[in-house]
Symmetry: C2
Subunit: 334 residues, 2 copies
């Protein structure tokens, strides 16, 4: 399946093409991580089950198709697209493994996390192995401009994570800072997936720039929805440990809105519930106060902005699928 | 100061040249890590004090000089040498930051570790920031073959760390596996410093290959000595938390030799002391049994092998300094 869309439900030649390409990307991915050491292979086999949504590779491919002259032609997608698609998924997977250490999470994609199955040390080192392999695989494309661009993006991504840690338990965090954190830690990579996909297809710079903006808005919306699911989702459906944001002092958009709109008395109570990490009581107040809805609206507006950017593309199935993926960011429940 | 040598004590034009180049490398390093976020800069400022020995950059420079036709000419050392020298130091620093998480260490280069001053999460993410910046900086050299080579080396380095974790508390670890772990986690990067330095200077392939072997033997000897210092060094002199290897179940060469040579009764006692992490009692037995001396001899032999490789170089101050650095691996006490 690609991204938030279950391609099995999208009966089109493009969906079939994407499925086939994603299978080839999975092979590039696995081949890259293969080691002569069985202990290392056992770890990689375990994290490969995290590779669920394949959102980022799908965006590389779809942007690759959408940015080309003929967006339905299979030959538009080159080995370079597949290498970069595998690279961005590997970078993403590295952040998942390290995030699980940071979050002390036990469940990821319905399976045990590495830190749970092995230990934190192994999770740190396995994340490093994934980062290293991502850069090594990227170098096999022999295009220094891509190395440079992805290096810049991972710098930005780490900065996002570092400011997030810096603002832990900071109930004074404002919307602008929250959005900047999210832009860096999540949206920067998603935006680059879209830009690089189109660029590799030889798209006009104004098209790859528009796709970059598309990815950036989409990425921020995606993270807002992720944060909402952590607060109000069901672990069984979402498939990972929930309620961790609050436990780890991560202040997300619904909480920011709730505290911002609250009376002084309500705010005092809210701060107390946050300090006590009383998720259930806070949950009710976030819903009743309209803060969850307000955060959802921000995500929705961002999805609309993202979709507007797609007007530079010629109409066709690739653009249609990007539109559907943008909508699915909001409607998904995992 | 470079490597294990205090260049202030080496009165030569080459020592002065190296000092100057290392200062320029420090600037490349700091400029690369500069962020628009003050919280990120505070962290980087803290880790920059780890940048003590600069062994790896010094090896890039010296190999760069030794591999050139005129090994005393300042102009031999290019911006590419300095970029790669800063990159390898950044990779090394990232491993130090993540090793401190792995080791739960409190002291590094006489200062508090990141995990002690901030927390483990910040240390994980800061290490990632350093890795990412290393690859980004490497890409600014616009030489895909270097990206590829260093990506391969960091893959190998992570594999070394992962097998080491896999063999934690494995008192059946043998000498060959120990040496393979050390070759991957420590020697692979040091060897590549030497090879790349010479390669960038346009050295003949047989020279860069000999320098790679020099670095590999030197790197293994370096790690053996590091492990010996962890067992028998003084924290005040070594400048980092000691005795951590035993606490973290890391079986090193003196312990391997001790268990290998011991009578059955002695072996039983040794295993008990290891399980109890009774460092003082074990310390005495490792010294008395000759296991420490035996491990030291392995390191010494490796240094001799390393020095033999230097015979491909023309005689001159660069070769002399590489010789002295090789000797200093053994004589150093920190």
């Amino acid at each position: 399946m690609t991204g938030m869309l279950d391609l099995a439900d999208v009966h089109s030649p493009l969906a079939t093409l994407l499925e086939q390409q994603l299978e080839r990307i999975a092979i590039v991915f696995e081949r890259q991580l293969a080691s002569d050491l069985s202990a290392v292979n056992a770890l990689c086999l375990h994290v490969e089950q995290y590779r669920g949504k394949m959102l980022r590779p799908a965006l590389v491919l779809l942007s690759g198709l959408a940015g080309a002259d003929d967006s339905t032609e299979e030959s538009t997608l080159t080995e370079k697209h597949r290498i970069i698609a595998a690279v961005v998924e590997m970078i993403h997977m590295a952040t998942l493994v390290h995030d699980d250490v940071l979050d002390e999470a036990d469940i990821r994609r319905r399976g045990a996390t590495v830190n749970r199955m092995w230990d934190n040390e192994t999770a740190v080192m396995l994340g490093d192995y994934l980062i290293s392999n991502a850069f090594h695989l990227c170098s096999t494309a022999f295009d220094p401009s891509i190395n440079l661009a992805l290096g810049q993006v991972t710098n930005t991504l780490c900065e996002g994570e570092l400011i997030q840690l810096h603002h832990r338990e900071d109930c004074g965090l404002d919307e602008a800072t929250y959005l900047e954190i999210v832009r860096r830690k999540t949206a920067s990579l998603i935006a680059e997936c879209c830009r690089l996909g189109a660029m590799i297809s030889g798209a006009d710079p104004h098209v790859s720039k528009a796709l970059h903006r598309f990815g950036e808005s989409l990425g921020i919306a995606f993270q807002i929805q992720d944060d909402l699911l952590d607060l109000i989702g069901e672990e069984r459906i979402v498939g990972k440990s929930l309620g961790r944001d609050l436990e780890k002092g991560k202040i997300t958009l619904p909480i920011i809105f709730y505290l911002q709109n609250a009376t002084q008395a309500e705010r005092g109570l809210g701060l107390k519930l946050i300090a006590q990490t009383d998720a259930d009581a806070l949950h009710t107040r976030l819903l009743d106060s309209g803060a969850v809805e307000q955060a959802g609206r921000v995500a929705l507006d961002l999805v609309d902005q993202a979709k507007d950017e797609l007007s530079v593309l010629q109409s066709g199935p690739a653009r249609d699928l990007l539109m559907s993926m943008a909508d699915a960011v909001i409607t998904r429940n995992r």
